[in-house]
Symmetry: C2
Subunit: 96 residues, 2 copies
């Protein structure tokens, strides 16, 4: 299923900037960064729970916000993009 | 239906910062800001098309990115939030 992960991390201090880098570093292992703080990941339920637990250990739940949106398996007509840096099709063929 | 709107606006110049304010100003008329550049809006198809056209006039399609995610009518179990500033239930009762 396609899982959309969006986050706001409070970067007022160095610790926050470190958390921001760590959240992005984790998410990039699992999917595609489509905007600055928005990732699209193809995950099954178990993978999703593991990633949630990992990210929840990284963020400061008093200061940061993390949102998961579940778009299911038939997601292609549930996403529209306008403007720069359109994403790639996570299940599309890679041409080298 | 619940429509998630996420955007990245290039704010390297004053024009970009102005675009960012305008995009947020438009979105806030239609729904709830759940993160810095993430809005949840309850829209029908017609309202969604109108908002898309409005936002597409505001952004610079060479520099900015705008994404729409369609979560349908049964969205309550498609959204999970962790951390600060949980959103409100757009269809929940308002207590004054």
């Amino acid at each position: 299923m396609l899982v959309l992960i969006t986050y706001d991390v409070n970067t007022e201090d160095a610790a926050g900037r470190k958390r921001l880098r760590h959240v992005a570093k984790e998410c990039v292992k699992h999917g595609q960064r489509v905007q600055c703080s928005v990732f699209e990941c193809l995950l099954d339920n178990a993978q999703c729970k593991v990633l949630q637990a990992t990210l929840c250990k990284i963020i400061d739940i008093e200061k940061d916000s993390l949102r998961f949106y579940y778009l299911g398996k038939n997601y292609k007509n549930k996403v529209e993009h306008f403007g720069a840096k359109a994403g790639y099709d996570p299940e599309g063929t890679l041409i080298f």
